[in-house]
Subunit: 220 residues, 2 copies
DNA sequence: CGTTCACTTGAAAGTGTTCAATTACTGTGG
DNA sequence: CCACAGTAATTGAACACTTTCAAGTGAACG
């Protein structure tokens, strides 16, 4: 299957036809890939590292709309308005492929599977969004955090990483702003889970000790 | 511009090439279009009426993920898994066009603009989802309801309906389950807005009396 | 080694929920 | 057209959960 960009650190040749404008770009921790309001020119495929996307209200409240890792595509919600509606910021050192969106028509003529792939990717994102809505609308703090940890775990599992022990690249505050909770609440629930033996946390290093019990808490 | 299906009641011919399987279907109020878990075969374009989509947890909590009206497309989040992940139910008498998804590849070969259209539609939905996440994650009850009313108003405005006076086709409970609030809270805020002269409500008939003040409340 | 930022914990205060009771609709059949 | 039944909407009061504010601890980095 063709891909817009291979995940991974290496310098392997991308498996796209030649002549497609595709620029690699690296980001330092905290660096911004695009900001809300900027004209939409590119979508970005993450090669490595992690990126958060977030919306900000005029009075400064932040909603993190997603944490994205290698293989994921950023910027798709900007297609319809022609401007990015959120901002994307690297959580750690990251690498992305920049793909000019105005070449997508041409691109998908050369690669008919690309069209199908885009549908898949966007559908996946819609699905994910809906699950997040359920979480934000209907779950309490414990359920939210448990759901979140299991979700991370699954994503790591797919990528052949340890799914019981990993590093959180995002701060407690980021997690709170993603889950619709105050930073302090996130801390409290972490402590609670720790006390109950569900997880072991040492700052951003986390280990899940009882996936089943976490699943029972996460429900939904 | 070609469309999958014309909104409207009429029997006007759809502007699609002949030979595309496209069945019209009508729904009574409360009737289900598809359920979560069913195999994904069709996407549905709403011709008239309104449809809600919702997720349900095993313990019965409901999250309404959207209220959809004429011109909108349903079922897109099912592409990736091959099963509908939510259920779609008519809020009032409604008509839809059923479009077999396995013919989409063929279809977009005949109608190159369809591909672009799909991207637009899905991007629009992603955008809408993100706004809803901001609402669910960061706004208080008043802000949520104000945002909701203004959103409805805008949608009616686009469709050349009155944007200050309209009928809610959904129950208070549906609104609550969409906004992440209890039904009772929705009632209370309606009453509050009523007292303050912002809106006039008579059961499901609503009139917005002060858009500016509503906007000030909705913020974000 | 001190400064800064992130994280943690406690106590008080809100905000929205839950449960219960009441009132208003809607639609149906007599 | 009215009465009735069933559903939807509203309101009140007590309660629960999360937030806010404040203080303190810990880790990272120059």
């Amino acid at each position: 299957m063709y891909r817009l960009c291979h995940p991974g650190d290496g310098e392997e040749a991308p498996d796209l036809p030649h002549g497609i404008v595709k620029r690699k770009r690296t980001l330092k921790r905290g660096e911004t890939l695009y900001r809300a309001g900027e004209p939409f020119r590119n979508v970005y495929a993450i090669r490595y590292g992690s990126v958060k996307t977030s919306l900000v209200t005029d009075d400064g409240r932040v909603q993190v709309t997603g944490f994205h890792i290698a293989g994921e595509l950023l910027g798709l919600s900007a297609i319809v308005t022609g401007r990015y509606n959120c901002e994307a910021k690297a959580l750690e050192a990251a690498g992305v492929c920049e793909v000019r969106f105005d070449q997508f028509g041409e691109l998908s003529r050369q690669l008919p599977s690309l069209q199908y792939q885009m549908l898949q990717i966007m559908s996946q994102e819609l699905l994910h969004n809906q699950e997040l809505m359920l979480l934000l609308g209907k779950k309490n703090a414990k359920e939210r955090l448990a759901t979140y940890l299991l979700n991370l775990s699954q994503r790591f599992e797919k990528r052949a990483c340890s799914y019981t022990r990993f590093n959180l690249t995002m701060s407690r505050s980021d997690i709170g702003n993603y889950l619709g909770l105050a930073e302090e609440t996130v801390c409290r629930i972490f402590s609670l889970f720790h006390e109950e033996g569900l997880v072991t946390t040492r700052s951003r290093q986390i280990q899940l000790n009882d996936l089943d019990r976490l699943k029972a808490i996460a429900r939904g």
